[in-house]
């Protein structure tokens, strides 16, 4: 069979007694959208942190397209085609929304001419389009400090997309996004990803979204994958209902 896009083997890490990752072994196949759900503090973000080299596991490896990237710093992993949108948006707050994307594009394309204006880079239209995709075209020229939490979340996702990754990791993409817009945005997002053949892994607390957009669901608990399977069956699973979803779904 083909090598999985991302594979982790026995990832383990603890923070002062707290087990954040407990022997996590997971294969992520290209082309399928994996949703990660689980109670708070289960280790979802930590998992993304390890996969992107932000923290080093005490034990275990991360393989991206078969290559061991465990020891690499985030930028090296990103250069290999992994992009990430964060649970707490990470943006250049003193640049405008558009500039944030243009800079991402520049980082992606490599910055050749040191004297051309960032705003004149060819990627401009593409980036404006991305902003529209996440309903932020209207704030394209506002500084990020001036934006609301939800707006930042969305732009953070757009920045990750701007990198044209093979694998996109999103940490609670829709949390803080107004419910009226969640659906629309996910819709556009997922189709765009499909077109661009981008595999996505997203941590999500909104089961509606999971149900609708995930090809597969992994349930995290106490630092490890408790269950994995198709959304339909997982979301019916009693444990999941007890620990994650709650009675009235």
């Amino acid at each position: 069979m083909t090598t999985p896009l991302l594979e982790t083997r026995n990832l383990t890490i603890t923070f002062g007694g707290v087990i954040a990752a407990n022997d996590v072994s997971l294969k992520i196949e290209a082309g399928r959208n994996l949703a990660i759900i689980g109670p708070n503090g289960a280790g979802k973000t930590t998992f993304l942190n390890i996969c992107t080299g932000w923290i080093k596991p005490r034990k275990g490896q991360v393989l991206f397209q078969g290559e061991d990237v465990t020891a690499l710093p985030p930028r090296k992993i990103v250069q290999r085609g992994v992009a990430r949108a964060f649970q707490i948006p990470q943006l250049f707050t003193e640049h405008t929304a558009l500039e944030n994307l243009l800079i991402a594009a520049a980082a992606r394309d490599g910055m050749r001419n040191p004297l051309i204006d960032l705003h004149d880079t060819p990627a401009r239209d593409e980036m404006l389009h991305l902003l529209e995709m996440v309903n932020c075209a209207d704030v394209a020229h506002r500084l990020v400090v001036e934006l609301s939490e939800g707006q930042r979340k969305l732009i953070d996702i757009a920045v990750a997309l701007a990198l044209k990754p093979r694998l996109l990791l999103m940490d609670e993409p829709t949390s803080g996004v107004a419910s009226s817009e969640k659906d629309g945005i996910m819709e556009i997002l997922i189709t765009a990803l499909a077109e661009a053949k981008v595999t996505s892994v997203f941590v999500e607390h909104d089961m509606g979204i999971v149900q609708k957009y995930a090809d597969e669901v992994a349930v995290w608990n106490a630092g490890n994958v408790q269950l994995r399977g198709a959304p339909a069956e997982i979301l019916e699973h009693p444990d999941v209902i007890r620990d994650v979803i709650g009675e009235v779904a």
């Binding site: 923070f15 002062g16 707290v18 759900i37 689980g38 109670p39 708070n40 503090g41 973000t45 649970q87 707490i88 309903n135 704030v139 001036e146 934006l147 609301s148 939490e149 939800g150 707006q151 969305l154 940490d171 609670e172 949390s175 803080g176 996004v177 107004a178 419910s179 009226s180 817009e181 607390h205 909104d206 089961m207 007890r242 620990d243 994650v244 979803i245 709650g246 009675e247 009235v248 779904a249």
Partner: protein, 227 residues
Amino acid sequence: MLQLKSLDASIGIIPILRGVDISLQAAETVALIGRNGAGKTTVLRTIMGFTKVTRGEILFEGAPVTALHPPKRPALGIGYAPEDRRLFSAFTVEENILLPAQAAGLDKGETRRRLERAYHILPELKAMTDRPGGAVSGGQGKMVALARALMLGTKLIMLDEPFQGLAPALAQRYAEALRTLRDTDRSVTLIITESNPALLRGFADRTLVIERGEVAAGTLDAERTPA
């Protein structure tokens, strides 16, 4: 008990809120909804005194607080849980929760009582009392911020997207807990901003919709809250 009278507020030089009129009865629960960037957070921050009020005034229990020095406001009995958690990483979770009480100079007994109340509503926190505030997960952080708001919030509690990032099971449990809190302690008024009204269904007495810094639709009663 709280009134915003035709309020204009700006952040820096940029005007955000325009002619906001809100008036809350004691002990009612109001949901503040609206799309991203509508101005929900700004309303709360304005009540806390972190924006520049350019017009109109704020009355708390009849007394104007528009010009009141921000740090004096929590002492009036206002608890505020900011959207972006804002925990003090140098302190443990419990210290984070206790700090408001200590700053307000509450006596030991009272502080205990309120701490108990917080833990009663958020039992999950008991497990992580002495973890550094900087070392909790996103959702855990929201819980701590919530608990911290409960410490001083004897009259008014303002929660900015309290359920954001919480696993649904937990979120429901909190909605429950808040309800019980409100039912047991009839004096508290709750303002909850939420971009996901479903959770508040049958819980908020009223829903205010904010659009581009203005209170758009008037009040709708709980039953007709849009899902």
